[in-house]
Amino acid sequence: MRPRRTPAEATAAPAGVPAPPRATTGAIIASVVALSCALLSGCAAGAPTPTPVVAAPPPTTSTPAPTPTALPQTPSGTPVPLTNADISAQESVATVEPVRVEVASLGIDVTVEAEGLDDAGALALPADPAVASWYRYGPSPWSPAGAAVIAAHVDSLEYGLGSFARLRDAPVGTPVTVTGADGQVATFAVQSVTVADKSGIDWAQVFDRTGPVRLTLITCGGEFDYDTGHYLSNVIVTAVPTG
């Protein structure tokens, strides 16, 4: 599992600088290094982020701002993050789109298409259960943080039962493989399977763009309303990175 790290932490933590018992010259040097690295955005290898470190925390969540806590404290107060604001210093990190999801032990092998919203404001899904939908505006499996959401129909009047129907029975630890448009592969392991009533799901949490990297596979399940033609629940599988 890749823990969420800010560029400053990613740089400071492995540096092997022993933590001083209190704010000392060592802490100041460490923070200078951390700040410089955050500013020079290239030395935070492994933690590329599409938005600069100056980004404000999402006002709609209680997630604490990563930057202030990433830097050592000083006797006089909280360090202020600095960034080079020049337009030439802005970096746009290309997103790797997932194109295939496999869960070999469950016989799942689906292609993935990037989708936005349908007319009702829900995630748009291809009609064929063998074609999954990745929410294109949220994280990808290769993003530095947040939940990559990939969903597929559990069934269809036209195509019949889909392979995602078997997700409901996925044991914890089940390997999941995602292939990107550039050919790279990310592996995950199932951490939890939840069947949740649709009316009670916190979609902002499901589509969370912050926090640890994870893969969220969604389909329908539970009871079916034969009058409306809809399932009453979603099956939500959370998988965490294994490599």
Binding site: S31, V32, L35, T51, P52, V54, A55, A56, P57, P58, P59, T60, P64, A65, P68, T74, S76, G77, P79, V80, P81, L82, T83, N84, A85, D86, I87, S92, L117, D118, A120, A122, L123, L125, Y137, A151, A152, H153, V154, D155, S156, L157, E158, G160, L161, A165, R168, W203, A204, F207, R209, I218, T219, C220, G222, E223, F224, G229, Y231, N234
Partner: protein, 276 residues
Amino acid sequence: MRKTLVAGIAAGALIALGGALPATAADGDAQLSVLHAVPGVTVDVYVNGALTLDDFTPGTLAGPLALPAGTYSVAITASDAADASAPIIGPIDLPLAANGNYTAVAHLDPAGTPTATLYTNDTSTIAAGQGRLTVRHDAAAPAVDVLAGGAPVITNLANPAEAVLTLPAGTVSASVAATGTTDPVIGPADVTVAEGVNTIVYAWGSLEDGNLALAVQTIDGLHSNPGGVPAGNAGLAATNRPDASAPLWIGAAAIALLAAIGGVALRQRAVAKSGR
């Protein structure tokens, strides 16, 4: 006053918030960022009389700082000043409301005199697939038009006004021209307008001195989310299906058979349902 010729390079030095300010963020705090957009001058920034930004260089964005709601007095001095008694700019009062998001910009007025402007950043939720582009005129220059792909999208923007657009997420080739003209005085430059992000572009510097430039601030986390995942319409995997005691594949086969028999009607129903 120490001058620096290298604008836009952040000092990287440790700067500390003054002891008058709290060290930890709390619910309801305002977010304050500070942009130094006065060319050629390294400064110190004092908040409520305490040195808060030391040796702050042009083109550098500081923050965001989480501050309790209230009014803060900000003075900007030469970088070798001993205290806030002889400011270059201010002291000015910054009234910060609870949960507000602000950027204080030290910049030139149209005549080239240093001044400061407090902007309120729009952090309202943005529709899926869209980004917000905010453009602020903080340069010693007359009113301008902002061109995207050569066509004006903002007209007659004067120092220190701002304009806010909502655009499909993507990259905009932006340039700035004197209002009513299309000959760029800045750019064209690629501006990334990311989904769910307020991308704030500052035009700063001096037209007369030939050092006009663009600075960028981004505020993310403003995105909206899908309101559901409607991922099934046949009931084949339902726990309450009439044949729930039978193996799943029998139910699937039965429905598939029905679908084959009832072909046209069921296909029409599938089309009708698929949009939900």
